[in-house]
Subunit: 497 residues, 2 copies
């Protein structure tokens, strides 16, 4: 309790210590119970939120309250106003986009880092945040059998970014500046960035942000012939045409597990082409990189020793809550040269002795959260063996679903299942609607039921449904139930088309 | 419990459900107690970590464990290995950099959003995440008396970014693309970006990332005459010189509360100059914007109606855990035109009807956390009146410290205290060391004691010590104790110089 004058003659009473340990304890326990109940009851909510645009404006006041409201009132509002507007990514019946696989360990790690609330921009600002990050990045790099040149122990190194968008942007900037320092900044308009037409939209956006001329973004065409992987020959042709036009090939983003269909670009052969022309290769394994900790999937990374950088999202399919993108680079100095800042107010002895990592120089932003904590908890709480088995369980469930699809002649598998995502569609009966329209209606019919959530992609002109297994709570029975939902709604859609 | 074949003839046993609600409850409660105890005992730790570079590598194994480790083992390691390496930003004796002011409400909000773990890239992916963000951004905008044109209710709008670096980069990209669409992308090398020599390093870095020619970044000089604020006349001269050189003035970042000395640029007059030349003005109120919810500070924002964008960091001095930067723009379409992506796999009806906000098009990254939750909890749990009073308490404590400094003739105040940061230094006795060196030693002496943590800045050639009040646990007694530490160490340093 205190009172305070504001200089205008008013006195204010206030009664709160906003970080009182015992109040923290009381309210913290309450939220834990709230969330535990949420996970227990999660199947009772429609997976995809069924609200209409603007629903929440009708429920909440137009301005912030003047006076404090108790946590129980707020939690009541979360229950009645927020939860209906949430799409339940943690639901076992969630099969949309890619998973956002939470876990107890990931959650606890996030709580610890939020509790400490340190701002680890450089080593000095919280040494443990930096050092733990270098350690877990080497741990995870070893689990992936990343060549030693990507690890701190081999003069490379890893950093936790928020998302793959940032990983791509940072490496693109590093490659851009390295090139422009050679050929002059006036040539920025000549730089060319390559990917496939299946590469994540983060590449095009990153190139745009980095000032690459919009005409110099090359999404090289793929086709069913290469299972939508980027062909090294097509890449070479694109590069040669650009050289012919006096442009400067700069950067290639190759993908292990594309968003639309989990296609895999052939890393080794692409790196060989890129090397010939001095192009920086970033390997985006946002989704499927996790699976590469299993020996039976590691071959998808073959050739990575010739890439410049590699990233995966631990928040997708690695039980680490959003956001946590793991980026490794062979040459940290390229990142640092492009992204470092040295204002006087951050000068310190540790930095000046060059014995520490200052992660602010490895990323877009200055401030950064203590993300290593949650990854460390995930790795320790589950251990390598269990983590591999979690991923294998998801793959096994996806294969089970694929088998069920194959057995029903009304459906087809559009591309074979490589990881834990099944791409399938409903076949149109003869002489009726177009297959793409039919599948749009089929998907919307399923999602509107609230019993499952799946999303779509269009590859090679084919609209297909993506069934991505990976929510942590998903068990075999949920996959079987999802298949029943699919069969039911196929029946409804087919009889009305 | 389950077992699984990996296709190589091996069988694996595993026993974990990584999101089991009852296990979540048990472990969650344990962490709450751990953190409550941490806050209770926080004063026993040295504020600035006293570890040496590389300390953690010596304590942790070289690779991730193969098998699970129990949470109590991990927490034991947090206690013995991590906490000594943490700089305690939540300590009441923390006065360094700017505050990272946690609160119970901010923590609870972060827990909820981590628990739901939704990925709110567009409206559909979790409508509540988007809608709550639009609502709280209007709430906070009204608290700041931002002109209606910055609010959704006035066809502007707000978005939660991670940090000011992202806010600056996004608005810079928006202004860049708007300009290049007029004058052609081949002219990117002509664009000029303005700030003062006190502007945060995020501006120079953002300009670099955006592909602005390194020679075209203009840190306009300031001096003690304008209290280190940017003079509109100096800005105009710089612009005219650039026009003379056939360059294209693009973007100005004006600051309310600079990092070095909390200087305030005169927003209104600067906007008048910028308007004349069609320059985008971003107002960076990362630190001091929070104070502008108090009527007595609102005048620092006067003229903001002529700016294009405005941001403040709720994670600095607004009780919301890292990261949470609030950005408002008058013309969201400028952001959206520059930053939108429309891959087929995100196509949906809500987006196509144009009735919803898709925040992925307002920021660098696609994936985004449900940050609005924590800001909503902070606003509701404390209410506007208390929030103002919290800030006033910090200012009052800073003024108290300033008064103590003034009374001791061995010290001087370098620039008058405007918000809750005091800039002071030790005066050197005649004919001894240089004042800057003396104050470096003085600061290091205090920080090595572990009893307080303060940092420095150099303004106009003067090395000064920044005493930033704002840690949530700080009370008057901590400020008085910090002053005693300063006096003690002044005595030590002065007798040995």
């Amino acid at each position: 309790m205190g009172s305070l004058a504001d200089g205008t003659g008013n006195n204010y009473e206030f009664t709160l210590n906003a970080l009182d340990p015992e109040e923290f304890r009381r309210q913290g326990h309450r939220i834990i119970d709230f969330l535990a109940d949420y996970y227990r009851d999660i199947e009772k909510y429609p997976v995809r939120s069924q609200v209409e645009p603007g629903y929440l404006h009708k429920l909440l006041p137009d301005s912030a309250p003047n006076h404090p409201e108790p946590i129980q009132t707020i939690l009541q509002d979360v229950e009645t106003h927020i939860i209906p507007g949430i799409t339940h990514w943690q639901s076992p019946n969630y099969f949309a986009y890619f998973p956002s696989s939470g876990s107890i360990a990931g959650f606890l790690g996030e709580m610890l880092s939020t509790g400490f609330n340190v701002v680890g921009f450089n080593w000095l600002s919280s040494p443990a945040a930096t050092e733990l990050e270098t350690i877990v990045m080497d741990w995870l790099g070893k689990m992936l059998k990343l060549p030693n040149c990507f690890l701190f122990s081999g003069n490379g190194g890893g950093v936790l970014q928020g998302t793959t968008c940032e990983a791509i942007l940072c490496t693109l900037i590093a490659s851009r500046d390295r090139m422009l320092n050679k050929i002059g900044w006036e040539n920025i308009g000549k730089l060319v960035v390559y990917g496939s037409d299946q590469t994540h939209c983060a590449l095009q956006k990153g190139a745009r942000i980095a000032g690459i001329h919009p005409n110099n973004f090359r999404p090289v065409s793929t086709s069913r012939l290469t299972a939508f992987g980027l062909s090294p020959d097509s890449l070479r042709s694109a590069i040669l045409a650009d050289l012919e036009a006096r442009l400067v090939p700069l950067f290639l983003c190759a993908t292990i597990g594309t968003t639309s269909s989990t296609a895999v670009d052939p890393i080794g052969p692409l790196c060989d082409v890129a090397k010939e022309f001095g192009i920086w290769v970033h390997v985006d394994a946002a989704y499927a990189g996790s699976a590469c900790i299993c020996p039976e999937y590691r071959h998808f990374m073959d050739g990575v020793e010739n890439a410049n950088s590699f990233s995966l999202n631990a928040h997708k399919w690695f039980f680490t809550t959003l956001d946590c993108c793991c980026l490794w680079v062979k040459d940290p100095s390229a990142l640092i040269k492009a992204l470092s800042t040295n204002p006087d107010y951050l000068r310190n002895n540790a930095t000046e002795t060059n014995t520490v990592v200052d992660y602010k120089d490895w990323q877009i932003t200055l401030s950064r959260r203590f993300r290593a904590m949650k990854l460390w908890l995930v790795l320790r709480s589950y251990g390598v063996t269990n983590l591999r088995n979690f991923l294998r369980t998801h793959v096994k469930m996806a294969k089970h679903f694929e088998g069920l699809v194959i057995m029903d002649k009304r459906f087809e598998i559009v591309v074979p299942t490589t990881f834990a995502m099944v791409c399938f569609r409903l076949l149109p009966p003869p002489v009726t609607v177009h297959a793409n329209e039919l599948n749009q209606r089929f998907l919307e019919s399923m999602n509107s039921s609230g019993r499952v959530y799946m999303t779509h992609a269009e590859v090679g002109g084919v609209y297909m449904i993506r069934f991505a297994v990976g929510a942590t709570l998903t068990e075999e029975r949920h996959v079987i139930a999802a298949w029943k939902v699919a069969q039911e709604h196929a029946g409804i859609v087919l009889t009305t088309c």
